[in-house]
């Protein structure tokens, strides 16, 4: 997502730090987002090989191990899955999701399909750290601000602190990949959750 930013925006700053609202929508390659979507971008360096990180993420059934608002992902076939996501008041919502781009070892993109309460899409990119510190993993997520009662409820969940949610998920991914476990101080949050 960070390529060519200077050309577009006048400096070398990454798109997620842009002061121009919505810059990512039009600039992030492969992201199935539309103008008006809420965007979240975040990078983290993980001291593990690119292929290993890609392979773990590519099995979407692993996502709930570090994305704590996702309760379960059921893989249907090589590109389709169903995501069961926690909603406020102990409820949950489910939607179908499809992989839109898959470049082994480098990039995965996905998008919710018809029936999602919140239209959403995302990409995760894996690049070798230029300083040889492992792999720079960049996640970009886009949500459509939804309408309707259930939509509002989900929106509350997603939009409360979407950046915080994304960065916590990435932190847990880093912990799990580097140390084999997700750090926790309290037994109720025992992790990794199988």
């Amino acid at each position: 997502m960070n390529e060519g930013t200077g050309e577009h925006l006048g400096d070398d700053g990454p798109l997620c730090a842009s002061r121009h609202p919505g810059a990512e929508v039009t600039h992030v390659e492969h992201l199935a987002a539309r103008p008006g979507d809420v965007l979240v971008g975040r990078s983290v360096t993980i001291d593990r090989p690119r292929q290993e990180l890609y392979a773990f993420w590519r099995n979407f059934e692993n996502l709930p191990l570090f994305m704590h608002n996702i309760r379960r992902v059921t893989v249907i076939d090589s590109t389709h899955s169903r995501w069961l996501v926690a909603a406020p008041a102990g409820k949950s919502v489910e939607w179908p999701s499809a992989i839109t781009v898959d470049d082994p070892g480098q990039l995965i993109g996905w998008e919710s399909e018809e029936g999602a309460s919140v239209r959403n899409s995302g990409t995760v990119e894996f690049k070798d750290s230029p300083e040889r510190r492992g792999t720079v993993v960049t996640v970009t997520l886009a949500y459509d601000p939804p309408a309707g009662a259930i939509g509002q409820m989900i929106a509350k969940l997603f939009h409360k602190e979407p950046k915080i949610q994304a960065r916590r998920d990435l932190r847990r991914f880093k912990q799990l990949m580097e140390t084999g476990e997700v750090a926790t101080a309290a037994p109720p949050y025992a992790a990794p959750r199988a």
Partner: protein
């Protein structure tokens, strides 16, 4: 199990709470045999550190016997005696591989790491028995503790070595040692140490061990100054002498080559800026009272080094940035990279080259921990270090 829990300012209690369990594969459970109250526990006792929650178990200086290990822990065995570093470090991340264990990227749970990222720019490491800023991990002033990443932190103690000789490997000994290391002491140099609490006393001893020619210790408690003197330091009581004047004279007009601030926030003092700190602090205009640090920076010689093991958590004003820049000072602080130093320091203890028990003034049963906090807070002259023993533990 029985544990000391925090409930508010000057309100700590012994309570019965559930025993800890193995949660993650690399965990271990330790049955605690000795645990101590740290000066930084008084910051929690005074409630000047934010993000505490009622019921938090305090304590980050502890040791004991391994009673259970997780399935992913290939280092520890049940029955081993270990001292546990207060810093929780994964051993696998960029920072741990650089031995900057107190900067571990993975030990602070994702939920609590946000707060320190917001405050300091990057998330802090996890630590035992401290505020939720550092993870909210249950501490060691208890009968048992869960130790995460127990294949990295705990150091195994040989049989026959009494607890008290090695207990302080958990925090204050490596903290005093790193404070002296950060002074980059050269032979024939003079080191000045502000604060003769446990960390200051170990910093004095460490400075000598690392080659300092003279160490000048500064405090206002006669008993603590006497302990500093017993370690070979010259002493200055700031109620008796003007510290800056005295340091200039004692160093022939050059000034101390390196200065250690082992006081941290809430430093005492009677000067105008310190009074102003009190007023502003009570009005919430600044968070840290830093009179001591200002004096440290002013007193340090040109081109000297300032080392800050004392704990600060927030922001301050009236920081003498001009003195720092114009004199060309190097300043280094930080939470201690405990795991980096434990093996070397254990060796020095076993060789009899470090005295680690001289500062213990009180030994109490764990059940009397609330009293321990009260006297440590209120009688600082006499109470230099409180060691607690859980019930049923006979002293080693």
């Amino acid at each position: 199990m029985r544990a000391l829990t925090w409930h508010g300012r000057h309100d700590v209690r012994m309570e019965t709470i559930p025993d800890p369990k193995i949660v993650n594969p690399r965990d271990a459970i330790i049955r605690i045999t000795s645990t101590a109250i740290c000066g930084s526990d008084l910051h929690l006792y005074d409630h000047v550190i934010p993000t505490m929650k009622s019921g938090d178990v305090l304590g980050h200086e502890f040791m004991g016997e391994v009673v259970e290990v997780g399935p992913g822990n290939r280092k520890l065995r049940v029955g081993q005696r270990v001292v546990v570093p207060f810093v929780i470090a994964c051993g696998e991340c960029f920072f741990c591989k650089k031995q900057q264990f107190a900067a571990c990227d993975n030990s602070n749970p994702a939920e609590s790491a946000d707060m320190s990222e917001f405050l300091y720019g990057y998330p802090m490491t996890g630590a035992f028995g401290y505020a939720h800023l550092t993870g909210g991990y249950a501490g060691g002033q208890a009968e048992y503790a869960r130790v995460p990443f127990a294949d990295v932190g705990p150091i195994v103690i040989p049989d026959g070595i009494e607890d008290e000789k090695v207990l302080f490997l958990s925090d204050i000994l490596p903290t005093g040692w790193m404070a002296a290391v950060n002074c980059q002491i050269e032979p024939e140099e003079v080191v000045a140490v502000w604060g003769c609490g446990p960390v200051g006393l170990f910093a004095i001893q460490s400075a000598f061990a690392l080659g300092a020619h003279r160490v000048i210790a500064i405090d206002h408690y006669p008993h603590r100054l006497a302990l500093a003197k017993s370690m070979g330091a010259e002493t200055l009581n700031f109620e008796e002498s003007d510290v800056r004047e005295a340091l200039v004279e004692m160093t022939g007009g050059i000034g101390p080559d390196a200065c250690i601030d082992a006081v941290g926030m809430e430093s005492h003092g009677f000067t105008a800026d310190s009074m102003m700190d009190k007023v502003k602090s009570s009005m919430k205009l600044v968070t840290d009272e830093t009179h001591g640090l200002r004096q440290v920076i002013i007193a340090c010689r040109k081109g000297g080094r300032v080392s800050i093991p004392g704990v600060y958590g927030g922001v301050t004003d009236k920081f003498p940035i001009g003195a720092m820049m114009e004199k060309g000072l190097s300043i280094k602080g930080g939470q201690t990279h405990v795991q980096k130093y434990t093996a070397d320091l254990l060796k020095l203890i076993l060789e009899g080259k470090l005295n680690t028990t001289f500062l213990i003034s009180h030994r109490l049963p764990l059940e009397e921990a609330p009293t321990g906090y009260k006297i440590f807070k209120e009688q600082q002259n006499d109470v230099t270090k409180v060691v607690l023993k859980p019930a049923g533990i006979t002293r080693h």
